[in-house]
Symmetry: C3
Subunit: 431 residues, 3 copies
């Protein structure tokens, strides 16, 4: 599948999700899933929507109350709304309880959150596990407020509802699984995190159109942290048994860097395979697990310890717009999405071709008689077929495709056509 | 135990030992042990004094004759003593046999040892295993001597006596042992080696006042080389069975550097634990076993191969005053001793807290409900608890405290209060 | 054996082989073997000559027809021979079929090979596995040719004959084998490859004069690639069972560098032992298996995987004269040969002394009583015997001589006399 418009297509999907007010529970999550279902097409892949009731014990955690938010604003004495959630849903502190009060400027300041170091942005702030109300605005705006009475108003509700997540499993020839996850809980921020679900949706379509695939693919969309924990509490046995490699997608829409966040020890198949592809890009950064921050935390937690890594363009926390109103649709781009899509589909291809190969003959095969070696031998002849020779040399049945790639310093992705040729010539067999 | 005067206290103890004329056998050793016994307090810890008779076979070695030295001097023609052991006991070659002779200047020179590269110092020279007599003086003094007759006089004795060493074992909750050793054979040199026994004595008191401790502590004071070999020949089975880590103390009183001398392969618990502490200091040097020189040689010798490393401030052989009369009480300082004491007591603390910890819940624990996580979540919240999160992430039951420390790049010593907190919250259990 | 003329001796042998027209089959190979047999002396070592008939299946390959070449030249219209194989046997494309034709300049150019980047040299070109005819000349000469008719003439024959190789096995005290191989198929090029067989011949004489040797030595002379494959197809079981280390010699006559080409993973005894010697030279280059190019390819091929490395002075492909008429007797030198001979005979010595040694006593041996330690102990005494002390420290029975050499950073070759001394003193035993 070569789709020249794939970047734009993902960008547009991201743009559709951007305006929704999401949190770890509530209708924002449900709306997001609906948009994704529309994109992937009802007949092809149907998302399984799971609702986990408030109060459910999930490992060390409990599913919190569901949050419904209808309106949130602050009015000045003249009745002018100085901030209004309708304009930017970051203005309300996530999980705010209702309030309807007239307060002095000093009182107001006790419930307003700003980002002092970036005075022009609205920060993203939440209080999931302690009931309070609050507003977010730019430091500049706060500084400009004059003494007086302010009307603070939040029409919200915390009630026994449920936490929503979705998954879909696309069966392959074997029950060995590859998994992609991303999260659906952040409000209007483009890169973090409308980009992850958008790219994940595109990957579902990529897998669906593959003629055959060895791996079974699992796609998961959940609220961050609590949703991943919920997912794990219901699926850990299955994942422990079948998951070979998983990738958490976050911040995959900008065009500045490529990042891998390694697993606990950086030694799983997920690490070596994804890094093999990531490091073929012009620029990239390799982060250890100490730099984790998204749901790779949960998938690598003690007792869980699954082979899951993180993938980002510029990593969360490493770009200034992160968790502010500046993380908007200008920050992401069709080129950014295209790059992520390319890395991840190449990773899928590499994984599908990844085997322990062994040469079928004893000793160096005679490539000449198979038309794989120049018939005139002179200075430089050998170099023309060097990669092929290298690939053969290390195909001893003890190295997988990524091991060979590392040993011979050629990206796994570039070896695929050669492996194909050697298989066609009956020179390669799978262990 | 926080004792602000500990540096001065150890310095004073060192100063008491400094004037004694010690060798690998004899009363100097016995006097040294007596002073240490006084310091640690008879009622608290009683040193076991062992006397090994001359002629005893200890591994490949034999206990030599005991050496008694009463007087040693050189007089010029006028009867003036140009050197006298009473002024500095380095003036006599260690283990000199008696002599009472009148010699020419040229004859004199055949039995005088100097250090040509440091013309102003008296060098420290011995001849334990070949009977000879000799004197040590500065090169400058030797150069200043005029032709004439000199009276060389040594009143000493080599006789069937014994070699003296001491040890003490402070039992802990288990029979797993930690060991400290230092040596008692060098005459009047402060850093090498009055400092080692002095710090070791302070450590005995530190261990004694610990309320409870898992490890059994073994302290050994022996003449260097031959004493360590004697000790091993009597205790090897016990040490092979129970010793988990040992440290040889030498040159621990100056204030210029911190040094670790690694074991044979640098891969034992002693190496990883002591280095973990040493490398938190402002300055430090890591020496491989190729730079060994003190009794870590014996504890790592073929067939012995115990987990023992060396600890120094500036390492023996690496400072100019080493093995000369300049290694005096000006070279060591309360600050120098305090630094050694700090490193070694922290090492004890770390060892006592060192376990394979495992998180008691499945998945990431919810820190918030235990008051261990900020209730408002915004940019930077996560970083406040990062070390705690890291500690939890690697507490999978497969890493000990030092492994986790290396993995998360935080000194083990700093992790102790966090481990304590996690244990109090029933989130950590020991394997 | 100290032979001050060894370099000149090998050079002279090389010079005798240089003029012969060799290919992968034919009388050139046979003549080469005859010269070597003369050099080593009939009575001492007798080469076993093997003839493998055309058509024989050897692993994935088939022995090709034998090539006989009698004459090859190009005449211009005036009957002047512009090139003639008699002047340089590189002028004929290796394995050319016969031709006797009058052609235009344009037609001529289709069967002439040159090296554009080195316009003054005649390149070395072959076409073993596809029948064609051809000539090689310098680019300058080709450029100077004018329009006209040229007579191209090759009197050659491809017929059912055989492929020739030789080997000899010199039995040692055990059936563990060390192997040297080189190749006999290249026409008149000095470094690549008259030098390899010449040095190999000198090594046969070196081994022959050894009074006793633990290893059995195998020497192999074969046409490159196809000859090595033939050799392996007949000897693989034997080699798999007994070969401990092997070295392929190629380009061992110049004086610019020393090179090792590592085995598949660079982790065999051959790698660690040869590199131990190579890196003692003033200059050297370590190549990974990715830089292979001579018969180490075959000995490391999938399913073969023997402990075989390559040794060169300047590696094939890394010097400009490689595979051209400039690789002549001026490129190699007595000094160049002497250096190779030194490395390889030292390697033999090291291998013969290589054991897992263990100190016979428990703890540090007392060197003094054996006259191995100074009797007066002062600053610096210890350093005088430091290497000896290091050697003893790591002689725990778990390290071979090369392991110890790496651990203590002293070349294995320099440890031999010390091991000898320790064995004489009954302090070292072999495991």
């Amino acid at each position: 599948m070569e789709n020249p418009n794939i970047g734009q297509e993902i960008y547009d999907l991201c743009a559709r999700m951007f305006p929704l007010c999401r949190s770890i529970t509530g209708d924002g999550v449900r709306e997001t899933l609906k948009i994704i279902q529309e994109y992937i097409g009802q007949d092809d892949i149907r998302l399984n929507i799971h609702e986990v009731p408030t109060g459910t014990e999930i490992f060390d955690w409990t599913v919190p109350k569901e949050w419904k938010i209808r309106e949130a604003y602050i009015e000045d004495e003249s009745g002018k709304r100085i901030i209004d959630m309708k304009e930017n849903n970051l203005h309300v502190l996530g999980y705010s309880v209702p309030v309807d009060k007239y307060v002095t400027l000093d009182e107001l300041k006790t419930c307003v959150y700003t980002e002092k170091n970036q005075p022009e942005v609205i920060p993203y702030v939440t209080s999931y596990y302690k009931e309070r109300y609050g507003f977010c605005m730019s430091q500049n705006q706060l500084d400009s407020l004059t003494e007086g009475t302010y009307h603070i108003y939040i029409d919200s509700e915390l009630f026994d509802g449920s936490l929503t997540y979705a998954d879909v499993v696309i069966p392959g020839e074997t029950d060995e699984e590859l998994m992609f996850t991303s999260y659906t809980c952040h409000p209007s921020m483009a890169n973090n995190e409308c980009s992850g679900p958008a790219v994940l949706a595109a990957l579902m379509r990529y897998v669906k159109q593959l003629k055959n695939h060895r791996y079974t693919y699992r796609f998961v969309l959940n609220p961050e942290t609590i949703g991943a924990i919920a997912y794990l509490s219901f699926n850990l046995d299955q994942l422990k048994k079948h998951l070979k490699a998983g990738i958490v997608l976050s911040c995959v829409g900008d065009d500045r860097d490529y990042s891998i966040v390694h697993s606990l020890y950086g030694d799983t198949l997920a690490d070596k395979s994804l890094f093999n592809v990531v490091k073929t890009r012009d620029k990239y950064t390799e982060y250890s697990f100490l730099d984790r921050g998204s749901d790779e935390r949960e998938f690598n937690a003690p007792g869980v310890e699954l082979p899951v890594v993180g993938f980002c363009r510029t990593k969360y926390g490493k770009y200034p717009e992160y968790h502010t109103s500046d993380d908007n649709m200008d920050l992401v781009s069709p080129e950014g999405f295209k790059g992520s899509y390319e890395v991840l589909t190449r990773w899928i291809d590499c994984m599908e071709w990844n085997r322990y190969y062994r040469v079928t003959v004893l000793g160096e095969p005679q490539l000449g008689k198979r038309g794989l070696y120049p018939t005139v031998s002179k200075k430089g002849s050998y170099d023309e077929v060097l990669t092929l020779k290298h690939l053969i040399a290390y195909a001893t049945g003890k190295n997988d495709l990524f091991d060979i790639s590392e040993l011979i310093k050629v990206p796994a992705y570039e070896l695929i056509p050669m492996v194909d040729k050697l298989k066609s010539n009956a020179l390669f067999e799978e262990m």
